[in-house]
């Protein structure tokens, strides 16, 4: 690495002894070799099922990238491959990437069948012609309640979605902690506040809370809005039909501001796992989250986990609505082998597929009521009962409204609120202004 001293030396060093000689040749040979090797790879890496069209292969785009759910999908699909003689090519893409690229994905060359959620976005894709009508399959499906059918229906009254699993949001707690301290599940907001105060006295953080990723706080907003203003107002607000500056919305945030002191502090840097661990480690008293909170508990601790639905705030509205996001499948607009894709979807919605899911995945509930649910844990059974008794089911804020509104307006706004709960009026008029620029049609 010594530096050249003179210009002559510098130039001399630039010219290697063999200007066009061996070195370059061997270099080229190496390059050619690699290119050849990669060439075969490039071509081979692509091929696969091209050619033999009208095909016995159906492609299935899946966002189930976690090991456990991925395995469940594989098992469900196996069952179908054996019974139908068709081949299913599962294309797994990690959950986040799949969701972020969905628009491009559906407009590019989507898989015949793909995983998605019920709610606004499902209806939106249906309306824009990016998904196929599945009404004929619904005529063949059995075991679904009217609520699930409604959740699968597009704006035009046809079905575009086959629901498979769902999970409710509720307030979770550890039975052992509550028994030891003699806590009772609260039935009203006042009881909840009193319970929180008692927990504080007992040295517990009353409500575990995390919102680093932006979405968990939506759950809190949803349930407060459902309890204070009811399901219909919530859905209209999500659809952009109600004003965010109304007294009703303001009351939601006022109530939330009153509850914030009971929540775990510094929530904006915490992931929900970390919050769930504070519940698991008995540092927090309760946690409003989806059923998946159980993943942070070991197998022995599962029995110690229990929940109650968020208490009533307005007696006229009651406490029977809740968030219970539904996952399922849709069919792309022009599947390569439509008839077989429909067969697959029919199977995915069947009791058999649901049975496979129940046997293999303890962290979720199956949508098909015909499924054999004797394998459910006590918690799963209770959760299924809770959803079964619900009068209205919302899908969660980011599934019930426009995604551009949810991600670019609501997330920053809720985080702003958590940071500084005082200026609710200013916050709401900012949301309303942005809403007007997004909900233009």
């Amino acid at each position: 690495m010594s530096r050249p001293r003179t210009r002559a030396e510098y130039l001399a060093r630039l010219v290697p002894p063999s200007v066009a000689g061996l070195n370059r040749r061997s270099l080229l040979a190496g390059a050619a070799g690699t290119t050849a090797l990669l060439g075969t790879g490039l071509l081979a890496g692509c091929g696969s099922d091209s050619g033999g069209s009208e095909v016995k292969t159906v492609s299935l785009g899946s966002n189930q990238s976690d090991p456990k759910p991925k395995e469940v999908v594989a098992k469900v699909v196996d069952g179908f491959q054996i019974s139908s003689g068709l081949r299913i090519a599962v294309n797994t893409v990690d959950h986040n990437t799949f969701q972020e690229n969905i628009n491009n994905y559906l407009q590019g060359k989507p898989d015949d069948v793909f995983t998605w959620f019920a709610g606004y976005r499902m209806r939106f894709f249906a309306q824009r012609g990016l998904a196929s009508d599945l009404s004929d399959i619904w005529n063949l499906l059995a075991g679904y309640s009217e609520a699930f059918k409604k959740a699968s229906t597009g704006d035009d009254g046809k079905q575009y979605f086959v629901p498979t699993t769902y999970y409710p949001w509720a307030v979770f707690y550890r039975k052992s902690v509550w028994q030891q301290r003699g806590y009772q599940p609260p039935k009203t907001l006042d009881e909840l506040t009193a319970l929180g105060a008692q927990m504080k006295k007992d040295g517990l953080t009353p409500i575990a809370f995390a919102d680093k990723d932006g979405w968990p706080a939506m759950g809190t907003f949803d349930i407060l809005n459902l309890r204070i203003n009811g399901y219909q107002f919530h859905i209209d607000l999500m659809a952009g039909k109600e004003a965010w500056t109304s007294e009703k919305v303001k009351k939601v945030f006022d109530t939330w501001a009153g509850l914030l002191p009971l929540h775990q502090a510094d929530s904006l840097g915490r992931t929900w796992q970390e919050a769930a661990q504070s519940l698991q480690q008995k540092k927090s008293g309760m946690y409003l989250l989806g059923l998946f909170v159980g993943q942070q508990f070991s197998n022995e601790e599962q029995d110690d986990l229990d929940f109650f639905t968020f208490p009533e705030i307005d007696p006229a509205i009651g406490a029977t609505a809740l968030d219970a996001p539904i996952d399922g499948y849709m069919m792309a607009r022009r599947p390569k082998s439509e008839a077989n894709a429909r067969k697959l979807l029919e199977y995915l919605g069947s009791k058999e597929a649901a049975d496979v899911t129940v046997q293999n995945d303890p962290a979720t509930l199956v949508a098909n009521a015909g499924a054999t649910t004797s394998g459910y844990t006590a918690l799963q059974k209770k959760a299924a009962e809770l959803v079964g008794s619900a009068t209205e089911i919302a899908q969660f804020l980011d599934r019930d409204t426009r995604p551009d509104f949810a991600s670019t307006v609501i997330i920053p706004a809720l985080q702003q609120f958590i940071k500084d709960p005082k200026d609710i009026g200013g916050l709401l008029s900012s949301i309303e202004n942005q809403k007007k620029s997004i909900f233009t049609d």
Partner: protein, 318 residues
């Protein structure tokens, strides 16, 4: 990928002005044989088509899209024009915009005032022929080899409020990545950590290229080491200085991966690039609005790019 040009031209080589008649490089095209002309054309045209087609055309299209309210779905002829509304919305009706601009500027200032001089200082120290220099260089340069996304994650292990090393060691409960007053600084430490190595390497290359006789002459004149550096060496490295300056500016403007990994550029970590991504790439699909943000970003980049190129060209002609 967000990295930029080290290196600069060797202006000592015989490159007189374009017009000089004796300049051998000034060959006209017609002096070339026909085959040579075809070869020259192909050598330029193929890469040019690639760059124009895949970079400049999309860039132009983005500028056009910024005048629409397209949601990214459906045929292009259904696009509705909204004129400058996206721009006025960006400025008047988008709370994250102002913090994003502030953060980008802060990013620039931090890299420019702290990380760049420190990298330069380390390069000067390492330029001396000392033992273990290669080890030090490697240690400092390693972060540059690792992708920004990994860097974001690696620092998360240190910053996490409940499980991170920093709070465990200090016994504090600071919410490094979550507290909007703190997190931008925490992220800047990580960004600076990487930038220092980068700048160090660039200056190291620059210093190795400095003619040692210059320093010897200065030493003979009795100038101190520091004086020599600032009065003699630093000015000679002007081309490298410009590269470093531009690298720093562009890195600050294009900074993205780090905040994206931390919290998708929200809650105190707003950056323009992250806002563009939130609007355009994700499910949100506010293509028109996001394109307006992107266009603003393009414009600012172009200002710096022009300054940079103008300087480079001027140097070239010298």
């Amino acid at each position: 990928m967000s990295d930029l040009p080290p290196i600069h031209a060797d202006r000592a080589a015989p490159t007189p002005a374009t017009a000089t008649p004796t300049d051998g490089r000034g060959r006209r095209l017609r002096l070339l044989s026909r085959t040579d002309r075809v070869v020259v054309t192909l050598m330029v045209l193929v890469p040019l088509l690639l760059v124009v087609g895949l970079v400049w055309l999309p860039a132009t299209a983005t500028v056009v899209l910024s005048g629409t309210n397209w949601d990214g779905i459906g045929p292009l002829d259904e696009i509705e024009w909204v004129g400058g509304r996206n721009y006025s919305d960006v400025i008047n009706n988008y709370p994250p915009f102002v913090p994003a601009v502030q953060n980008n500027l802060l990013w620039l200032a931090a890299l420019f005032v702290v990380a760049t001089p420190f990298g330069m200082y380390l390069a000067v120290l390492l330029d001396k022929e000392i033992r273990g220099s290669r080890f030090y260089q490697t240690a400092l340069y390693l972060p540059v080899v690792i992708s920004m996304a990994l860097i974001g994650f690696i620092w998360q292990l240190i910053y996490s409020r409940d499980q991170g090393l920093l709070n465990a060691v200090l016994g504090t409960e600071t919410d490094w990545y979550g507290d909007p007053d703190v997190n931008i600084w925490a992220v800047l430490v990580a960004a600076g950590w990487r930038h220092v190595g980068y700048v160090m390497l660039l200056y190291l290359a620059g210093l190795k290229g400095v003619d040692p006789s210059l320093r010897e002459a200065a030493a003979v004149d009795g100038a101190s080491e520091t004086t020599t550096f600032f009065k003699v060496v630093f000015p000679v490295m002007r081309p490298i200085n410009i590269v470093v300056l531009v690298v720093t500016v562009i890195e600050s403007l294009r900074a993205f991966d780090l905040v994206w990994v931390v919290n998708k550029g929200r809650n105190g970590l707003e950056l323009i690039s992250a806002l563009v991504t939130q609007n355009v790439v994700g499910e949100a699909s506010r293509i028109g609005f996001g394109s307006a943000l992107a266009t603003l970003m393009l414009l600012v980049s172009l200002v710096f790019i022009t300054v940079y190129l103008a300087t480079v060209m001027r140097e070239d002609r010298r």
